[in-house]
């Protein structure tokens, strides 16, 4: 199969604006591959605006994120909206391969929606590097909302809170007790809390523990700083129970952000994190390059053999990389 010469990003974007899904898919591939073409596409999109709604769905593996997302798609279709989903699954650290299995759970609900699977390709934090650029593209093309489903996460994968306008954290009965709920991390960043599998024993306990956590946030002053107490919604993704309420809670959160300067603040924070991620990526590339020089390989061999400390090796490598940051970091 020899494809005809590919149209450039500007032509693709024109066609994609007309609703051509093949062009949308192609643009996402180019954004995902990065490099100059991805920058060119980013440059074609309008500068910061407050259009669209990016909803992040996050939670532990098996909590029901994909099934809930599927039910949300059905709800959104009923409401006459055209959503897009970006479903992130992990890449293998060994081979770079991935099994992107989120669509299986959305089977039968995704008609009319644009659903794209994305592998993390080495990125930590529960998202892929290309997620912010891709959500901007999809929102620009009129998909509303754009739902980002993270990989299954633990307590510290918090990138979604900067990449989304509304972060939905999905828990399920038995996920942990009140002590777990009060640990720092992802829980304190959620805008909507979901207890999924609410038909199972323990759902009321899970809800109580989350309420208690929010009560303590009220006492400690966190709630006042956030300006809002997250809503708790009970859902059963297998039947769809509670899913309209979840959508209403997410929409209400978007509306409350837009009523003040919350939306602008969030998107500013998102762009700040994107800059940091881009910088880290560039620095990592520099590190990889430095390690792959003859001097780098020599130092690496010494460190592997235990005859040189990582700190000394670091100083040697930094000395070969140009201007010196302060030592001892």
């Amino acid at each position: 199969m020899s494809p005809s010469p590919s149209p450039g990003p500007a032509a693709l974007l024109r066609v994609a604006r007309g609703g051509d899904r093949r062009a949308v898919a192609r643009l996402i591939t180019l954004v995902e591959r990065g490099g100059d073409t991805a920058l060119e596409i980013a440059g074609l999109l309008p500068a910061a605006d407050d259009a669209g709604h990016v909803i992040g769905i996050t939670g532990a593996p098996g909590a029901g994120k994909s099934s809930l997302t599927g039910r949300l798609l059905a709800c959104l279709a009923d409401a006459g909206r055209t959503p897009a989903v970006l479903a992130v699954d992990p890449s293998s650290p060994l081979t770079g391969g991935a099994i992107l299995g989120d669509r299986v759970r959305m089977d039968g609900f995704a008609a009319g929606a644009f659903v794209r699977s994305m592998a993390t390709r080495g990125q930590q934090g529960g998202l892929a590097f290309a997620v912010p650029a891709t959500t901007r593209l999809l929102a620009h093309l009129g998909f509303d909302p754009v739902i980002v489903e993270t990989t299954g996460v633990g307590q510290v994968e918090v990138d979604i809170a900067s990449a989304a306008d509304t972060t939905v954290l999905v828990t399920s009965p038995g996920w942990g007790d009140a002590v777990q709920a009060n640990k720092a991390g992802l829980l304190e960043l959620a805008d909507v809390l979901v207890v999924n599998k609410a038909d199972r024993p323990g759902a009321r306990d899970a809800r109580r523990d989350l309420e208690l956590m929010l009560d303590l946030g009220h006492i400690s002053g966190l709630e006042a700083r956030a300006g809002r107490r997250p809503e708790i919604v009970l859902t059963v993704a297998t039947t769809g129970d509670g899913v309209p309420e979840l959508l209403a809670a997410a929409d209400a959160h978007r509306a409350s952000l837009a009523a003040g300067d919350g939306l602008v603040a969030r998107r500013r924070r998102g762009r700040r994190l994107e800059l940091a991620a881009t910088l880290e990526r560039s620095l990592r590339a520099l590190v990889d390059t430095a390690m792959d020089t003859p001097a780098g390989r020599r130092v690496l061999a010494d460190v592997e053999a235990g005859t040189m400390s990582p700190a000394d090796a670091c100083a040697v490598l930094l000395a070969g990389m140009g201007p010196q940051p302060p030592r001892g970091a």
């Binding site: 391969g97 991935a98 099994i99 669509r103 299986v104 699977s117 592998a119």
Partner: protein, 134 residues
């Protein structure tokens, strides 16, 4: 940037519950460094084609164990072409050697019969699934 992993959509078409083979193939391709969009059981050619379009897939793999490969194999190819997609189709499963020729004549890019080894599966998919660099 070059070196992006090939993206492969895997599915079973029609009324056919034998998905163990497809799961094994998904794992083989993952461990060969490919990105596998796994759709699982009871899909339609039109549904899989729509997914291949959204996922910008480099190949579609379908696994057949219910003797409907001569119907659904060509139907898969046609569903993709109807969307204007040149995406190559690989058919795996219980496919007699004579039928493999018929499938290839109908536009199927590769056929992997019973007993195909992991390296054979990877080689066949790599041969047809070339991410275009446009």
């Amino acid at each position: 940037m070059t070196g992006a992993p090939p993206r492969i959509v895997l599915a079973k078409l029609g009324f056919d519950g034998h998905d163990r083979g497809l799961k094994i193939v998904a794992r083989i391709l993952r461990d060969a460094g490919m990105e596998v969009v796994y759709l699982g059981l009871r899909q339609t050619p039109e549904g899989v084609a729509a997914v291949a379009e959204q996922e910008d897939a480099d190949a579609v793999g379908i696994s057949m164990h219910n003797a409907s490969h001569l119907t659904l194999g060509p139907a898969m190819v046609e569903a993709l072409r109807a969307l204007g997609l040149a995406t190559p189709v690989v058919v795996g499963g219980i496919v007699p050697a004579d039928d493999a020729e018929t499938l290839r004549a109908a536009g199927v890019a590769a056929v992997l019969g019973p007993g195909a080894s992991a390296p054979e599966v990877v080689a066949a998919v790599r041969r047809v699934a070339v991410p275009d660099d446009g």
